[in-house]
Amino acid sequence: MKKSLKERLAILSDAAKYDASCASSGTSKRDSSVSGGLGSTEGSGICHAYAPDGRCISLLKILMTNFCIYDCAYCINRSSSNVERARFTPEEVIWLTLEFYRRNYIEGLFLSSGIIRSSDHTMGDMVRIARELRTVHNFRGYIHLKTIPEASQQLIEEAGLYADRLSINIELPTDAGISQFAPEKRPANIRRSMGDLRLKIEEMRDPTLQTKRRKRFAPAGQSTQMIVGADGANDATILGTSARLYGSYSLKRVYYSAFSPIPDSSKTLPLIKPPLMREHRLYQADWLYRFYGFEIGEITASTENGMLDLDLDPKLAWALGNRDKFPVDVNRADKETLLRVPGFGTKTVGAILSSRRFRKLRLEDLKRLSVSLKKVQPFITCEGWTPRKLADRADLRSMFQPKPEQLSLL
């Protein structure tokens, strides 16, 4: 018997939840006030709800179908899994997107799919959904399409005309890992697709001689995801791969997804507690790389076995390993140096740079900026403060480490 829409929605959203990305930000600004129709994007995305897993729900994240001819060990939808299977028609996906959007549940659609029949067939249906949302329903909300590496160039190009973001998941950081756990996936094809996409985005972004207007092509760029903790890759390898992907394909984001138990999991992968803290540290390191001027090598240089410290955030760990770079004078240091002080974020640094033009800053000033003095004090000097011996204390690290938890008797 055919499953109801509600039953299929349950199956196909359950199947989509292992994709970490839910971003709806960074696309071009547009709205429906002049054009009519429905929808807008305003630069920063909106999280319309949060689930008890702490994750934001911004998009209707669903699979078109969870039938899949691939057998990737880590995936809930692999062909050898016995999860319930279902599929939506393109019309149903369009209807759900529009009705959810009208009720302000979502910012738009994140559509992915298992691979059925052929890559082009699957991609063709996905492109059709995006095209009809845009052209028939005048939908101006956010669309993220997962692209399929083996799909034809023509379909990918059409996808870019309607979608804000395109993504291909690399899933595992090394080629060896991919061939071990995702035997049907070809790492070289994934890289080529990402390269093609970068070239296409750059080509369309360049204003043409005739119009000077930029063509709209995936204005929110491309992103990818890596699973953390499924294979043996360490953090240095993962971050190295990220750096490579950012540099090579101008990715907007690399998402890290702690490998999480899935229903009917494969025999080759153990059921583990998802390494959430490790995932968090990787995101922090990723941030240092993208916004704080750190090279990956610097972040991973002082780690043990290439693993980030779980007790300390990576910037603090770096600072403790590079004591000679401190203390930093808050009233004179340049932006790049201030950004490397543990406890200073980009906003704090902006506020410091703007405030110190008025007068020399003291600890009280920093406190008013909601800076944790305990954290920054050993690393800075300012009017009326030098860390003196604090910066040289051998046990500086232990001051920042979380208190050991008492072991329970059981």
Partner: protein, 484 residues
């Protein structure tokens, strides 16, 4: 004397601004003005009771920075009763001193920024958590669809946030009612009011589908309740249709993860075996005939002779006529070549093309390739910095170059740069010693050595650069002569 001013205080900047202007012009110090709102005095005196100072002859007429007005427009929406005096104190200080808004650590600036931030948050949460419910049109009536929402913002933000909903929900009629005012849109006019409204009784069946989605997109193995609570505090729950599921989802999370673990991995269904068999049956597509350049190119596409293939996008194989008289050998592909999969299409390729066309030569008559076929680089920030291939990599990749030479059989081989020279001769000459003249190779073949065009791009001194470019162009002319 003390002045007292009474405002409606529902997020309207102009009423405060008009009063503040009058006090400022009269030079009244901030500690002599008491700001109250109608709501906290029961409107006992009414707006007519405001004591405005008499106009003065020489008012303080210093312009107010636009950034302050922008900040004030936000701060005024807050429900904190001290917002008016905070703004007036800042205005007064600015008029009698300097613009201190950039002093982010000033206590008044800190306070105003904090208030403004909470307005920003309230605004953002309203755009996020308003839930529209459809009010069906009477049967047989056609027209725009109608939606209504009840929301409870913390501050007076209706005027501020209404345009957002108009920009977004253009093709439907909507009405948002709150205890702090309401907003509506009918396709032509956006209307707002600051009068408190009552909670209407609303229901919409689509909420049920939304709850289904909410329950299933949740991953019970990653329970992080604190994180959810900080982003979606409980005060919002009563107007969110999905929130009623939260306690049950938290309570059953652990059990459902344990249940996943308890189940032994099952045997795949027939579906899986059919797919695997079908995949095994798919015949390999017929490749190009062995011994041709196409076959070699195809084979090189899957090259794993060294580790570079894992880092690069693709093998960049040589291109050009298989019967070319001249084979150009560079070092390795760069960023652009790696993406495009073709040799010499980046900046160095451009320099090469210019020299070639200046010499009146058609580039397409050359067979152009590289000593190393994968791009070697170091990621730095958002770019890739070229790295010289090491000897091992060059030697591994010579495998392909030797076969290219065998198939193309060029009369003249041009080594551009030291890496190409090393790959072709296995000897490490100083480039300058062998540059610019034909050198006999085995099989009656000639070798010609010049610099790599990327070298020209790296010369900082403009004068020397021009000289070197001229020398390179001469070399290309010589190559043209030798080829004919």
């Amino acid at each position: 004397m003390m002045y007292r001013v009474l405002l409606r205080g529902r997020g309207d900047l102009t009423e405060w601004r008009d009063a503040a202007r009058a006090y400022l012009a009269a030079g009244i110090a901030p500690d002599r003005v008491e700001w109250r709102t109608m709501d906290d005095t029961d409107g006992l005196f009414g707006l007519d009771g405001n004591q405005l100072p008499a106009p003065v002859d020489k008012p303080v007429t210093q312009g107010v920075p636009p950034a302050f007005l922008k900040l004030a427009a936000s701060v005024i929406c807050h429900s904190d009763p001290t917002r008016f005096s905070l703004l007036y104190r800042m205005l007064f200080r600015m008029a009698h001193g300097r613009n201190f808004l950039g002093m982010a650590t000033d206590p008044d600036v800190v306070a105003a920024n904090r208030v403004s931030k909470s307005i920003g948050r309230d605004y953002h949460k309203m755009t996020a958590f308003v839930r529209f419910k459809e009010i069906p049109l009477p049967e047989g009536v056609a027209g725009r669809r109608r939606f209504v929402s009840w929301f409870e913002p913390d501050h007076f933000i209706i005027d501020r946030v209404a345009p957002f909903f108009q920009r977004r929900f253009n093709d439907m009629d909507w009405l948002i009612v709150t205890p702090r005012g309401s907003a509506s849109w009918d396709g032509e006019t956006l209307r707002t009011s600051d009068e408190p409204a009552e909670k209407p009784d609303l229901r919409d069946d689509t909420d049920d589908l939304w709850r289904t989605y909410y329950a299933n997109i949740f991953n019970p193995a990653r329970l992080k309740v604190k994180m959810m609570m900080s982003e979606m505090p409980k005060k919002y729950w009563k107007n969110l249709p999905e929130a009623e599921l939260i306690p049950g989802m938290i309570a059953s999370a652990e059990a459902s993860v344990i249940e996943m673990g308890r189940k032994a991995a099952s045997e795949p269904l027939a579906f899986h075996h059919r797919i695997q068999e079908a995949a095994a049956r798919v015949p390999m597509p017929e490749g190009p005939t062995a011994g041709t350049i196409e076959a070699l190119r195809e084979e090189a596409r899957r090259c794993t002779r060294c580790d570079l293939h894992c880092m690069a996008t693709q093998t960049v194989f040589g291109e050009g006529p298989v019967n070319a008289k001249v084979m150009i050998v560079g070092e390795q592909p760069g960023d652009q070549e790696d993406l495009a999969g073709r040799p010499f299409v980046g900046p160095a390729g451009k320099v090469f093309n210019e020299a070639v066309s200046a010499a009146g030569i058609d580039r397409t008559q050359f067979y152009i390739t590289n000593a190393v076929k994968h791009f070697k680089y170091e990621p730095r920030g958002k770019r890739r910095i070229h790295q010289k291939p090491n000897m091992g990599e060059v030697q591994q990749c010579r495998w392909w170059l030797v076969q290219e030479l065998d198939l193309v059989q060029p009369k003249l081989v041009v080594a551009m740069g030291a890496t190409a020279l090393f790959s072709l001769t296995e000897m490490r000459h100083k480039l300058e010693d062998v540059r610019g003249r034909p050198i006999a190779m085995e099989n009656g073949r000639m070798l010609f050595v010049t610099v790599h065009p990327s070298y020209l791009l790296r010369i900082p001194n403009e004068g020397r650069k021009a000289e070197e470019v001229a020398r390179f162009k001469e070399d290309i002319v010589a190559i043209g002569r030798l080829a004919s």
